[in-house]
Amino acid sequence: MENLLRRRAAFVCHSCVRSARQQSWRNYSSVPPRPDIYDVVCVGGGPAGLSLLTALRANPNTSHLRVALVEAQDLSRIRSWSLPPDKFSNRCSSLTPSSVKFLEQIGAWEHMARDRVQPYQEMQVWDGVSGARIEFDWAGAAPNTGTTIAYMTENLNLTSGLLKRLEELGGVSTFDNARVEDITYGEETEELDLREWPVIQLSGGKQLSARLLVGADGANSPVRSFANIEAKGWDYNRHGVVATVELEGEGWGGEFTKIAYQRFLPTGPVAMLPMPGNYSTLVWSTTPSNAAFLKSLSPKDFTAMVNAAFRLSTVDLEYMHTQTSGQDEEYSWRMEHTPVDHRAVPQAVTAVQEGTIASFPLKLRHADTYVAERVALVGDAAHTVHPLAGQGLNQGQGDVQSLAKTIEYAVTHGQDIGVGMSLESYVSERYAANHVLLGVCDKLHKLYSFGSGPLVPLRSFGLSAVNALGPLKTFVMNQAAGNGIKVF
């Protein structure tokens, strides 16, 4: 009763309420055994986590939320990341126009090194076995949708730009170089019942209590494990080999019409994606043993293998994988006997940048749901997709955009942003859409992994048919550009 009367005094004076409230917040943070209370704790400072925090900080409706970022790496090094103009990181992503629009909205796009971002206007996709081809170019297919299909960006350019924007916005409690030791639940005291609130225990003893814990912590998400959300899927038994390569020129279309190339080989697709100037980034999905083999080659032989992958027959290419060395000479000799339309394949690779050849295993994973009480998953923590459509990072951006909108709605309507009810719209907006994309990329991978048999002519017919049908092609391109018709 006494307590009640004391609280009732609240509406006597507004400023008293405010000072009392501030005091109570301060109390939470100054008493050591009690965890610091946050509205949003985001574990993971990759593109998804940083975009979410930037979106929340940049929006006046959510900027009052108390937010924290937990990241294992040293973020100051990523923020100050820079490379000379003729060097490019090997981890690049294709940002769709809708992802770019979102980054513009939250004010991060202008903080990126724009001279290191390469838009492309055409796509060339063909079947490595039958040669059936589909050409995508906006000029012919969809004159009203702008000319850029997507923007090639180094992932570090994106994260660095986001960190700079976050620094400008301020107000994020950042715990970097910090490991999540454990996630538990809060306790019940006389005044508070935090038994449903996740408490993140950091290395060094710091404890953060979260109204909403966001798992942006990658494919092996500890937050997902904490929330008991299972991620189902399979490994493709494929690795993605990446490298930054230099071409003989700035592309067949010149400086202003850049083209992305992808050839489906029975071992997986190989893609050459344009970067500024004469540079391109390579993503070659292949078997783990082929990946190890490619990584072991000399730069000269590796370059020959990449050129061969876009030009030679699958039989020739297979043979070259069995040679211990000398691929360079083998390639030159075989090219003399292979008729190639040079303008239909990427310009020849002349060099590979030192230290940029790397590989990573490819898998498909989809979490059973994206939310639990006081937990939400975004990006790779929620789904991992085959890179053949370049959609992984964009899916994460789509998640973040949707979650930020969901949080904004909850905040402006007085809902507790952590409870399942407030997060329902995030799941309904993203789950089915992501599932469709995961499935399409998975089926494409499987369809093209046959080197022979009845499926080869069928799929070639499919590609040729798609190529001949304008509206269908436009639809496919719209999907790739992330501004497609909303299926759900």
Binding site: M1, A10, V17, L192, E196, Y409, H413, G414, D416, V419
Partner: protein, 299 residues
């Protein structure tokens, strides 16, 4: 009561055959003189005075729902889904009049707050200074209090009092809310005079209830309670439903001592529950089912 309504009948016939005509109109003449309100021993937890607007059967019905009040998939789900629309409606009312209180520091009184779905959400808004939630059921109010402990941001702004509105002592507030309550009250006229006392001039009374129509009987009583079981049986008493014009008329007749208008023009928004989709704003639907009602105090 229900049995007489089970006979197929048109709305008009239904109204005529209704054994207990709605007592709201004309409130002043037709109503039996309500028992005089007794002052409540201020802010006592346990004071459920016998003389109040609230009906004991209603209290015990809602008390029995206490445990499921905050279950988002339980019987209160429609209320949870409706809550954001309440805020939208309040905002539209406030912005409709230049003499509304400033939106940066609002005080609320929520009459019949139940488990605190609205009261908590109002207290969570950064634009809110304080919220007082009152409810006649001590059981429900305990649910509200223990649930509020789950959110540290509420303690400084939200106060619950177990008390009928007649016994409440509170300085006037900017916004008096009363959601899905008046259709459970025995003497709505008395109830309205009591709760409107707590609005500051310039402030708003915001309510929501259900129109007494054939459609609302089918949807709220027959479908929601009897067929789908979405809402527990006995939640709705169709005879207590109120038309928006009945409320409008009450506020028009409520004048100052000099006979001047005390209330502005009422604002109404009809909403329809679409299973699987939630509540949708449908213009004109206030005539047939659930609706929000807002009116600004002029003097």
């Amino acid at each position: 009561m229900r049995s007489s309504l089970l006979r197929p009948t048109t709305p008009r016939a239904l109204l005529r055959s209704s054994p207990k005509p709605r007592q709201l109109l004309p409130l002043s003449s037709r109503l039996p003189p309500p028992p005089p309100p007794q002052p409540c021993p201020a802010r006592s937890h346990s004071s459920t005075t016998t003389t109040s607007s609230v009906n004991e059967t209603e209290i015990s019905h809602f008390s029995s729902l206490a445990s499921s009040w905050w279950d988002p998939h339980g019987p209160s789900r429609p209320l949870h889904l409706m809550n954001p629309h309440r805020h939208d409606f309040i905002r539209s009312c406030l912005s409709s009049s230049p003499s509304s209180p400033p939106c940066s520091s609002l005080t609320y009184l929520d009459v019949g707050c139940g488990g605190g779905i609205f009261a908590e959400s109002a207290a969570r808004l950064p634009t809110t200074t304080s919220v007082t939630g009152i409810d006649a059921s001590p059981v429900i109010l305990e649910v509200a209090k223990s649930h509020a402990k789950r959110d540290p941001s509420l303690a400084q702004k939200l106060t619950y009092i177990n008390c009928p509105v007649e016994s409440l002592t509170l300085p006037p507030v900017d916004i008096v809310t009363c959601f899905e309550v008046i259709e459970h009250v025995d003497y709505p006229s008395q109830f309205l005079s009591e709760l409107t006392k707590f609005v500051k001039p310039g402030g708003w009374v915001i309510m929501s209830t259900i129109a007494r129509t054939w459609t609302s009987w089918v949807t709220t009583n027959l479908v929601a309670e009897d067929i789908l079981g979405m809402v527990p049986k006995g939640t709705h008493d169709w005879n207590k439903y109120l038309h928006e014009y009945e409320l409008r008329e009450w506020f028009q007749k409520d004048r100052t001592e000099n006979g001047e208008k005390k209330w502005g023009e009422a604002r109404v928004m009809g909403v329809v529950f679409v299973p699987g989709c939630g509540w949708k704003e449908v213009r004109g639907s206030e005539k047939i089912g659930n609706y929000f009602f807002g009116v600004q105090r002029l003097a």
